[in-house]
């Protein structure tokens, strides 16, 4: 089976939407959107969170139907009422959130969705798996249990699945947010190969650089409308700076200057933390000595990791996803036992303390799985803001919940942290990713914090929220908190950190001062060269 279905090279776009309108209570998510997605083109969709991209994708993927408007596939008007119909039309979608069965193996996940009366044929599936993973250039054990893979690997499986049934259209909803620079580059090559085979690719990103690098055509959405398009012919003749300028104008309106969000966008990756006044002579507040953990099957264990963080210092941990960063964060937070080594906070050993005890000592952990473990989706924003304090005064009195105070506290946090939610009683799963992250940041930020661990703090956030989250990290560090930032984005680490360690296969390969040329040394460490 070829990767893409035999293509009828007619002049009609592979998929077109015409005057799509989609309302949600109180919001027009899509307001008369018309776009053509052509074969053999990488069509970039840009826009802030809430611009309507995900809604549009949801409509194409059959997750929801538009209020009005027409969908066309090869010029023929169609109705896409379910994800299955979308797949049958050759539209494969990779969503931001992983939608795979954690308890099944990679291959089993891919074999799902076949006709129920037919036996799943392992040999054929395995061949298909090898074919696609080769095209993608990824190496995944087809028999590994999915839940044991890192988020990045899980996403690669998602991409394989989207291509599984061939495909007219491949939709990628922010696929690069979890990838390393090398991974992004690889993805770009994969996309080009697929494009050359005639697949129409819809590529959603927040990163301008990627839009310019990979896009054949760029459309910008704002507040549910298409506010501008750079067609193929024009895009080919423009420089990156010209494209950047134009897109910023489209995204933020003509008045946007090179400040605020637009500034962050334009100078992405060019900023470096002006080495804050961290007093290097001070004793480290947080020390990790030769810490190892046991690994679950298919998982990378932490092996003899050693580093320390001074008050007010930001220590970064770089590395390709799945090299033990998650396990490290969990062992530091107390969610998984220390097999050997020693963790101390202000001289006090933490090894035997659980999450709650460490929290009382001032340890905070902001997880990268905001809905998976960071929050209880069905419970209110108010409850989630206090989920780590249940039973403690002043919100509980002798075990009784003082709901009035809990809500008051939530309203206060909602106001000070600019959390966009209909009310403090809204189930938190209804909020956007950026707002859920604000809830987590609000929950962990308190005067008693001494060590804060951020795991991929800006993963999946739009520019505005990314900027807010980074500002918060720097602000909290400035108040004397020892900060650890785990990220797969080097730009982020060089912007935030004083020193950066590189993790690979569970080990900390080396620690680099964040100064001129740090990127190169980090890159060397990431690729396996021993140094420092």
């Amino acid at each position: 089976m070829p990767l893409s279905a035999p293509v009828d090279r007619g002049s009609e776009p592979a998929v077109a939407v015409e005057s799509i309108v989609k309302h949600f209570p109180g919001v027009v998510a899509n307001d008369r959107i018309s776009l053509d997605f052509n074969r053999g083109e990488i069509h970039v969709l840009l826009g802030e969170n809430g611009a309507g991209k995900s809604t549009l994708i949801g409509i194409l993927a059959g997750m929801q139907e538009p209020d009005s408007g027409t969908l066309r596939v090869d010029g023929r008007a169609v109705r896409i009422a379910s994800p299955r119909e979308s797949l049958n039309l050759g539209i494969g979608t990779v969503f931001q959130h992983v939608l795979l069965v954690r308890s099944l193996t990679v291959l089993e996940n891919l074999m799902l969705g076949g006709p129920w009366w037919r036996r799943a044929e392992r040999a054929a599936a395995l061949a298909r798996f090898r074919e696609i993973s080769e095209t993608l250039g990824v190496e995944i054990d087809p028999d590994a249990e999915l839940g044991r893979l890192s988020l990045g690997q899980q996403q690669q499986v998602e991409i394989i699945r989207a291509l599984w049934h061939g495909g007219r259209v491949l939709i990628l909803d922010e696929p690069t947010s979890m990838l390393t620079p090398a991974g992004v580059h690889e993805l770009g090559q994969v996309m080009r190969r697929l494009r050359d085979q005639g697949v129409a690719i819809i590529f959603i990103t927040h990163k301008l650089k990627e839009a310019y690098e990979f896009g054949d055509r760029i459309s910008v959405l704002r507040l549910g409308r298409v506010v501008g398009e750079i067609p193929k012919e024009r895009l080919a003749g423009m420089s990156e700076a010209e494209v950047t300028d134009e897109i910023i104008r489209l995204m933020f309106g003509p008045t946007a200057t090179a400040t605020g969000d637009a500034g962050a966008l334009a100078h992405e990756g060019e900023r470096r933390r002006r080495n804050a006044a961290v007093d290097r002579s001070v004793e480290p507040l947080f020390a990790v000595r030769d810490v190892s953990t046991a690994a679950l099957p298919g998982e990378t264990a932490v092996r003899e990791v050693t580093f320390d963080v001074r008050p007010g210092e930001v220590f970064g941990i770089a590395g390709v996803d799945g090299n033990g960063q998650k396990a490290l964060a969990e062992v530091l937070a107390g969610q998984r036992p220390v097999a050997s080594g020693r963790i101390t906070l202000g001289g006090e050993e933490l090894n035997r303390l659980g999450v709650a005890a460490r929290r009382r000592l001032g340890m905070r952990y902001i997880t990268d799985e905001r809905l998976g473990e960071g929050t209880v989706g069905t419970h209110s924003v108010a409850t989630n803001l206090l989920v780590k304090e249940i039973g403690l005064p002043p919100f509980w009195w002798r075990g009784l919940t003082r709901w009035a105070q809990v809500r008051e506290h939530a309203r206060d946090k909602i106001a000070t942290h600019d959390i966009r939610t209909p009310s403090e009683q809204t189930p938190i799963a209804r909020l956007s990713g950026g707002n859920i992250q604000k809830v987590l940041l609000a929950r962990e930020a308190s005067s008693e914090a001494r060590v804060v661990i951020f795991n991929k703090p800006t993963y999946g956030l739009d520019l505005h929220n990314t900027r807010l989250a980074r500002e918060r990290i720097l602000k909290s560090a400035a108040s004397g908190i020892a900060t650890v930032v785990i990220s797969t984005e080097l730009d982020e680490l060089t912007e935030l950190c004083d020193r950066i360690g590189v993790m690979s296969q569970g080990r900390l390969r080396g620690i680099v001062d964040n100064a001129e040329g740090a990127e190169m040394r980090l890159g060397l460490l990431m690729t396996g060269a021993d140094a420092a």
Partner: protein, 364 residues
Amino acid sequence: MTIDAEGELTVGTEPDRRRPAWRDALAATLRVLLPVLLALLAGALIILALGKDPLTYYAYVVRRGLLSPTGLEATVTRMAPLLLIAAGLIVAFRAGIWNLGVDGQFLLAAVVVAALAPELIVFLPRWLTVLLCFAAGALVGAVWSLIPAFLKARHGVNEIITTLMMSFLGISLANVLIKIPFNDPTTTVPQTATLPVEDRLPRLFDTTVHSGVLLALVAVILVHLMMTRTAFGLKLQVVGANPRAALHAGLNITGLTFATFALSAGLTGLGGAVEILGVWGTVRADWNPAYGLLVIPLVFLARFHGVAVIGFVLFFAVLMIGGESAARRLDVPHFFVLVLVALLLVFLALVEYLDHRRRKSRID
């Protein structure tokens, strides 16, 4: 899994156009009453098919179960064990633990209490006997849930399977206990010694209703308050809704799991104790009311709400008591009540499904 439609929307500061609150209240009431009405309607068709008059049947059930003084007393008395089981189920279900072994826990507790009470009453005052028997019933129920609790907490073994299996074992063990160690040699059928009527739970006023009913009502309401108003209840709910978030938040999941099982099975065991001390005074080897499997649908129908469940238990008790009379008088099989419960479940699922669709279409 579905993508949350609102996932990416940023909600503006303008107040969203909410529909009036009374409409939500109406929808909630309908969601509860509709399955009941539909089940009664479908039941009526079945009675018609049996060649009986459904109106006569229902009227008779209501008259005997609710409107006649003796019927009402029997109904209220029947509510006691049902409510205690419901309380136990609410604790477990809200904590995300599916304790389906309530029948074994109930029967085993009942048998132990039935054996214990006639022995204790000889040398202890009634109030102390009753208290000790309550404690024993709760303890037996809790102990019978220890193995599923351990397996769940330590090894993640699905508690639906283990509690069901323990339930079968419990029922068999109860049988063995009645026939061998606790057997009363003075009777011809295998049964435990009988607690004299005057030593059973005190009656309320001049009725046949025993005071265990009050205990059951208080238990249900306390459980409801515990789940909604206390730190402990909130912790249980967090563990139930997202165990990984509970781990992340530093909750003692193992301890909470054990506590949930113990509370749930303990309340169920208390139900067994109340039924023996209040009504029967003994357990016969062929006695197994299997209330648990009947209460589970009611708890779902009440959406784990402690106050709402009281209404459903009342409704169901009326059906049971009235249905038993009607079986004798109108020759409608007494298990027709079970048919009604089954219909209730079917329509509950159906209404739930339609409501889900309706909400989804409103959000979209």
